[in-house]
């Protein structure tokens, strides 16, 4: 029951990744959907600058050593099983060949049964070859300090 990853030479565009150290968090459990995060600027040297709230971050543009493909799963969520299985280490260690054979056979028949229900596939939506990485500490923006002390 192989799960297909479809790719189309034309369709896969280039998307960007912005890497932030840590996590964007909010105290309340308020939904952040569609909310504004911050502004992204570039200076004339190509350095990215990100302003989030009262903080300014300076980063840099970096080519990814190993590019990423963005995969999107379509139809049903049963296919997730497969990726989750990576964590479960269930290498069938067959002590003798016949027992091992029976087990794989069983897996296989189960797999064949699944085949009818599970039509999960992945599509490569885009490729990411570059990222903007912000790994320095954010600096606070100090506004309007009185000029005379």
């Amino acid at each position: 029951m192989p799960i297909i990853i479809k790719t189309s030479s034309a369709g896969a565009g280039e998307w960007a990744i912005i890497e932030l150290q840590g996590d964007l968090e909010v105290r309340s459990n308020q939904s952040m959907h569609d909310q504004f995060i911050g502004d992204l600027y570039y200076n004339k040297y190509g350095q990215p600058i990100l302003i989030i709230g009262h903080h300014i971050l300076q980063g840099r543009e970096q080519k990814l050593d190993k590019p990423f493909a963005v995969l999107e799963k379509s139809k049903t969520n049963e296919g997730q099983q497969l990726l989750n299985i990576t964590n479960a280490t269930l290498e069938a260690s067959a002590l003798n060949a016949t027992a091992g054979a029976e087990r794989t056979l069983l897996d296989d028949t189960v797999a064949l049964e699944h085949k009818s229900r599970q039509r999960t596939e992945y599509t490569v939506r885009a490729i990411c070859t570059k990222k903007l990485i912000f790994k320095s500490r954010p600096k606070p923006i100090i506004a309007n300090v009185a000029k005379t002390v």
Partner: protein, 437 residues
């Protein structure tokens, strides 16, 4: 570092909580941008013209449906050319990823950093109308250069533009791939159950356990190209729409008859005719079996067009397998003599052909050859090591290689594996490996 972000996000929330209850969506305006640039004391002339305002993913995005997959050169090139990739694995197997040619182990990697995936985000070069400046190189003329540039910038003041960009999802995990060797074991185990030993024995075969090419390809954890190669290694052939391997004795018998056709026709070893061979075996074995075996065992002749020659290594192996039944051992010279005599004239037996079938044991008073079939050993490396050292106390690396080879990966060689799972010692200038415990 995490706390920093918490602090930031809070601050940001305060800024935005203008209207708590209404499903209000704040949209960044050009004025806001102007204000914040000033606020942050950034020199607008030092910035490119475009500001991109970032937003959290929308509620409609099912982030669980999106995955980041790290690619190597080969995978990237496959995707770029529109090839299809496959995830493969049964219920109790670790999933692998296959291109048409290669197989990869897939592993989830969690990271503490956040990866914000932003479609259509512009990188620096795309936001500037003039080429980007190279980072300061020589310190001496920097100030001069900058003052010159600054004055130039003053002249052509381009208005700031604003684009709204939505983050599609935020990842804290990606999948990394490591190229591995094809996993053929399941193929062997499945084929093993239905060995073909002639039409008269077919009634014993459980029909449910017969598989077609496609069924096997779908379940065996390797790429298509590797699968074809694997079938060849197992000397599998297609019979009646199913992939089959033969019972050793039956295979030996048929091969022997096919080799007999050579002397009957007084052919040279590289003058073997395919049609003639198949014709000669009519009525003795089904044609697809003879034809299939012929294609597995022969290579086109270099000397005569449209003629073939049997591969010495394959012929020698099936003969050796017939002599060296499981559990048997022979005095080395005796074995080599018997083996050589059973081969057609012009072919020579070589110890290396025994690879994965048997071993030469020099430990006793008389060197002997004993059967040790790779395919019958445990598939787990720890268990296999134990089994190997139980069979023979000390091994050289070359001796062990056929039995360990299936565990190697492009980054994990036989010697690395042995360093981990065995102890090495040197005796009389020869390096041996013995059990760790």
């Amino acid at each position: 570092m995490k706390n920093f972000w918490r602090a930031i996000a809070e601050m940001e929330l305060e800024d935005m909580e203008v209207d708590e209850n209404a499903p209000h969506r704040y949209v960044r305006t050009a004025e806001d941008v102007k204000a914040i640039v000033k606020h942050a004391k950034m020199d607008e002339r030092q910035l490119t013209q475009l500001t991109q305002a970032l937003y959290y993913p929308g509620a409609e995005v099912v982030s669980d449906n999106l995955r980041l997959l790290e690619l190597d050169e080969h995978m990237l090139q496959q995707i770029r050319t529109g090839q299809t990739l496959h995830f493969k694995g049964g219920l109790h197997e670790k999933v692998v990823l296959c291109t048409d040619e290669r197989t990869y182990d897939v592993k989830g990697a969690e990271i503490s950093n956040s990866l914000l995936l932003v479609p259509e985000l512009k990188f620096a070069a795309a936001t500037s109308t003039s080429p980007l400046k190279s980072p300061r190189t020589g310190n001496a003329n920097t100030s001069l250069e900058r003052s010159l540039n600054d004055s130039a910038d003053d002249d052509l003041e381009v208005p700031r533009t604003l684009e709204q960009k939505q983050v599609l999802t935020i990842f804290h995990e990606y999948f990394e791939c490591r190229e591995i060797r094809p996993r053929y074991r399941k193929l062997g185990e499945l084929l093993q159950l239905t060995r073909y030993s002639g039409p008269e024995n077919e009634y014993c075969i459980e029909r449910k356990l017969l598989f077609s090419f496609q069924q096997l390809l779908d379940t065996v954890q390797c790429s298509r190209a590797q699968f074809v190669e694997g079938l060849n290694q197992y000397r599998a052939l297609e019979f009646d729409g199913h992939i089959r391997i033969l019972d050793y004795e039956y295979e030996y018998r048929i091969i022997n008859l096919m080799l007999g056709v050579i002397s009957e026709n007084s052919w040279a070893l590289d003058e073997v005719e395919r049609e003639e061979t198949i014709y000669a075996l009519q009525g003795i074995a089904p044609e697809p079996i003879v034809a299939g075996l012929f294609d597995v065992y022969t290579k086109p002749s270099d000397r005569c067009p449209n003629k073939f020659r049997y591969q010495e290594s394959l012929v020698a192996r099936i003969v050796a397998q017939n002599i060296l039944q499981p559990g048997l051992r022979f005095r080395s010279e005796e074995f080599m003599c018997t083996w050589q005599d059973a081969l057609p004239e012009g072919m020579t037996c070589k110890l290396e052909y025994l690879r994965g079938l048997g071993i030469l044991d020099r430990e006793g008073a008389q060197p002997c050859v004993r059967s040790l079939a790779e395919e019958q050993l445990p598939s787990n490396i720890n268990d296999r090591m134990r089994a190997l050292f139980k069979t023979k106390r000390k091994w050289t690396m070359d001796e062990m290689e056929p039995y360990i080879d299936c565990f190697t990966t492009p980054t994990l060689s036989v010697s690395t594996l042995l360093a981990k799972h065995a102890r090495s010692l040197t005796e009389g200038g020869i390096r041996y490996f013995v059990s760790k415990h």
